[in-house]
């Protein structure tokens, strides 16, 4: 992950193999440009650094007045495998419920 700061405009560029590219416009003229690698990333190895530039051990410098998780819609995964099909009866082998 390469983090750069350009004055009030901040960009977080997450580089990885494949993924979706989106642009989120946030307050104070800053923007987050990211390449969402989804499952392509393996967090069990390598480096994961989410800190914004200049944040040191995590303190924020106050340029942002709020954050949002709104974003441009990514492209649908049209090659998705068929994960679910209608029941054919028989014994239930698992149950999905909230916890």
């Amino acid at each position: 992950m390469d983090i750069r700061s350009q004055g009030k405009r901040r960009a977080i560029v997450v580089t990885a193999a494949v993924g979706l590219v989106g642009l989120v416009t946030t307050v104070a003229g800053s923007a987050l440009l990211w390449n969402d690698t989804a499952e392509a990333q393996s967090a069990s190895s390598g480096t994961v650094n989410n800190q914004r530039s200049g944040s040191g051990s995590g303190s924020d410098e106050g340029e942002h007045s709020s954050f949002s998780f709104d974003e441009d819609a990514p492209s649908p995964n049209t090659n998705a495998p068929q994960l679910l099909t209608p029941s054919q009866g028989g014994a239930v082998q698992g149950r999905s419920s909230g916890s």
Partner: protein
């Protein structure tokens, strides 16, 4: 719960399940004083075990996938609501609300966490809560370990999150999707290797100052989200992915329908009135399937 296709491997599968669950709990439980996460003082950066590093890394992946809808840094907010021990104990106690100013946060907590290989840095004002992702990671791990080590297919269900591994005899697993007994039920076949997770606002509930609250928080405010959905179920190629999307959908409320559709996700959302909305290739519910089990 673990289901295996070779009965002779059941005891070994249960052993793998228990040992993995215990290891994950010892690494990241918020409720155990002896867990690695509880003992961690990471504000200056601390070396952590490979298991905890993996769990934190996965939680940060979830935050990225969901653009921060699911944030692993809300531990202090949950504790402030009284959820600082096992939910059975939380639910049985009376909680009084403190003075709270509802303010939109300036920056997402997860973006302030750093994991550089095995060195974890968490700002002092944040506390990690990996509950949303650790259970799903564990289900994925256990299903993979059983398949690889024991050579049989497996369905692993941890608290309602299902992961599968290997090739089942019929090419799919028969599963029931239903949150509470009074909720609409649907039976489905889950493909080999697929996963299924359900997030709910109907469980892990308790009362604070006379008001019911639940455990899924809006990261922008650190407060329980408006329970637009009673539950959201998502099928995906990993339990972690399914859990991430289902939890994020609870947080996103009505906009989750459009979001899940845009992702092409197979999802089933149950609203406050028990009405069902599906997205992606989730099989359309027939009248006979809507009967409560």
């Amino acid at each position: 719960m673990s289901v295996v296709t070779d009965p002779s491997q059941l005891d070994a599968a249960v052993d793998i399940t228990r040992k993995t669950m215990n290891a994950v709990e010892l690494a990241c439980s918020r409720f155990r004083a002896d867990s690695e996460l509880a003992r961690l003082r990471a504000s200056e950066g601390s070396r952590v075990s490979p298991l905890l590093a993996m769990l934190v890394g996965k939680a940060l992946e979830v935050a990225r996938w969901t653009n921060g809808s699911v944030d692993p840094t809300l531990g202090n907010d949950l504790a402030a609501l009284g959820y600082d021990r096992d939910i059975a104990l939380v639910s049985s106690e009376t909680h009084v609300a403190g003075t709270t100013v509802l303010a939109r946060r300036p920056v997402a907590g997860w973006t302030r966490v750093s994991l550089l290989d095995d060195v974890l840095t968490v700002p002092r004002d944040l506390r990690l809560d990996l509950g949303a992702s650790a259970k799903a990671v564990t289900a994925d791990l256990v299903a993979g370990m059983i398949t690889k080590q024991l050579g049989c297919a497996a369905l692993v269900s941890l608290g309602g999150d299902i992961a599968t591994g290997g090739q089942s005899p019929s090419g799919a697993w028969e599963v029931l999707v239903q949150d509470l007994p009074e909720d609409p039920a649907q039976r489905l076949r889950l493909a080999d290797g697929a996963a299924l997770a359900t997030s709910s606002t109907q469980k892990r509930r308790w009362v604070v100052a006379g008001q019911p609250v639940h455990h899924i928080l809006d990261p922008r405010f650190g407060t329980p989200v408006d329970p637009v959905w009673r539950s959201v179920s998502v099928a995906a190629t990993s339990c972690l992915r399914a859990n991430a999307l289902s939890t994020a959908s609870i947080v996103r409320g009505f906009s989750a329908i459009e979001w899940l559709s845009s992702l092409g996700a197979d999802a089933r959302l149950v609203d406050r009135a028990g009405r069902v909305v599906v997205t992606g290739n989730w099989p359309v519910v027939t009248e006979s399937e809507t009967a409560h089990e």
